[in-house]
Amino acid sequence: MDTSEQNNFEENWRRAFDDTSETPPDSVWARIEERLDEEEKERVVVLPLWRRWQNMHWMAAAGVALLAISLGGWWLSQNTSSDTLRGNIAQNEAKVIVPNKEAISKEQNKKPAPEIASAEQTAQLTIEQKEDKQVYENPLQLSKKTSFASTDNSSNKKNKASDTDIVKKLPKNLAIKEESAVAKTQSSSPMPVLSATPPSNSILKENSLQTNDLITNQLTISTPIFESTPAAEINALDGKNLRNLPGLPKKQIWVAYQAPESSTEAPKKASTKEYWASVGIMPASYNAGVAIGGSSAGRAFAMSGQNALANTTNSTNAGSNRAALSYAVQWQGGLQLNQRWSIETGVNYLQGNSVFEGTNGFNVYTNSYVNNLEAAVNLSNNLTKQYDFVSAGNDKSQIQSFATNQNISNAYQYLQVPVQAGFALVKPKRKLSLWLIGGFINNIFLRNSFESGQERIVSVSGADNPYKTLSLSASTGMRVQYKMSKRWTTLISGNYQQALGSNTRSNALFDAKPHLFGVGAGLRYGF
């Protein structure tokens, strides 16, 4: 018997049943709908929350950002309140009230010192990297098994048929794999082929048959475990990783899959070199790191002018800085070079609030730091001659020579231009990734304002100021990124900045080496 005729048996039956349709009774849908209603009622408690959650990316992002800001604020407030209490104690010990220039009084507050609450906070960030079950899309390869007439009687097993792969490139990367199977050798008695005429709509039928063959051959019943739960059963039906399922045949008839190169390589290629822009806010703890008498000029000034003025022997260098609640608004852009590396830059506006706390020492007018700073500003502005040490020194009413301690708020405004590199510690395989960030920040000085104890606010800005217009800081930090969608990513970052050298001019009377620690949150859009 001709092998083509042998294969005709299957082919004929396939044609006979392909594309057949039989309308089921309406009662079937009624029962399905009834079941669906029942399941809907069962799920009503659980499902809506999840389904809603899927549409709540923005709220999720806002929630995360709010949480981060709250934590940062709380951390800062804990530190600030602790410091403030400590400062209050010092102030209470020696509080200066200067009602007018003629009256100098000293009032010692006898109130018991409040407890100083020490707050230590350790933020530990644990990132759980779920095992990424990366599922590659099964390549879609349409295969059509066709039977060719063959006179080769040596092969009598269909399974051992010689295969000829003819891969045709089609639009949409579809490849048709034709498997020519040499039909089984059976007895050679001729078959009474009654008719080879296809049904009346032969052309249409042929076309549809081809389609249906493709579809039919894609079918893979992937699980032999029939006692499994419906969910498992359906999962097995899923077109992914069918070969990896336990109990499945090593060889599947997956006739339908995409070209491998496009499925495995494309995602990686697509993920490289992505540009992004982000906006964020970072509550921070900013310490101005001011040290009086940093330069030789300053020391000379302190020895000659102020010591004489104050008529004391104490140096004014003794003082400490402590951080106050600050913030930075960040606009940044970057380029993700690959899955591991990124470079980024941008513009930050930094409002750095700090407190200078004078310890011990004399006090002229209000505070040594203020005087020093004011003088430094004046000197820097070439106004030295106008600073009348003599007359000031003669005015003893302005001098308080007792020990005191006073907090001076000291605020800075900077425009920052960071240039940083990012390295992914946890690669962004799925939604969550962890990045190590490091680089430099160019600080462009805008303004410095400090407040004296008498609510006098002194602003330092303009060209003639003791601060360098441009100073450099090192920056490092960690950032957690949560990819909400293809475009939007939520960012939470911790950042530490340390000035590289003083940000004051060489002839300034003091040094300032600020450092900053902040926890920020932001939102990124990828292009």
């Binding site: 079937v28 849908w29 579809i215 039919t216 079918l219 419906p230 008839i253 899959y257």
Partner: protein, 176 residues
């Protein structure tokens, strides 16, 4: 395709109209599949119902990596096999190791034979033969794959198919 995606998304959102539309679009062809795997219309309706319940509950696992119809058909076939297994209605035969290909000498063309008549012939096959015949001849699976799917040996699959083929051809010669 876009329409199909809309339909799938609607079903994922439990939109009853989308579910109904999807059912109406595929129910006819899937019911025909169910008919081939079962022995009565009543059983076919049961399988169709169960299959579409699974389709709607698992539609979120559909990844668009194959045509939607092919995915639904897989669900239907698996449901049918599972149903038959539960009904203990197939694989009545033990393994037949001595498989022979000496069957079906008289090939019968199916042209002109009514679908219902062919369906009746398939349904008259012994249960084990019926499943193997459907999977091999109609769906195009290989015997080793069918063996894995049904939990039988490859030899059994071959012999079941040979028997099915023999029976069908005999019936066709007899009937037509």
């Amino acid at each position: 395709m876009k329409d199909e995606r809309t339909l799938v998304e609607g079903c994922r959102n439990k939109d009853r109209i989308a579910q109904r539309t999807l059912y109406e679009r595929f129910a006819g062809r899937m019911f025909a599949v169910c008919q081939r795997y079962t022995r009565s219309r009543f059983e076919a309706e049961d399988v169709l119902q169960e299959a579409f319940i699974k389709v709607f509950s698992q539609i979120h696992t559909f990844r668009y990596d194959c045509p939607l119809e092919a995915w639904i058909k897989r669900v239907v076939i698996n449901t049918a096999i599972s149903y038959l297994r539960k009904e203990k209605a197939y694989l009545e035969q033990a393994d037949i190791d001595n498989h022979t290909d000496a069957v079906a000498e008289n090939e019968t063309a199916l042209s002109g034979i009514q679908y219902q008549q062919l369906l009746s012939l398939v349904r008259e096959l012994p249960p084990g033969c019926q499943s193997v015949f459907n999977l091999y001849a109609i769906e195009g699976y290989q015997h080793n794959e069918i063996a894995e799917m049904l939990g039988i040996s490859e030899g059994t699959s071959k012999s079941q198919y040979a028997r099915a083929k023999q029976l069908l051809q005999a019936k066709m010669l007899e009937s037509f």
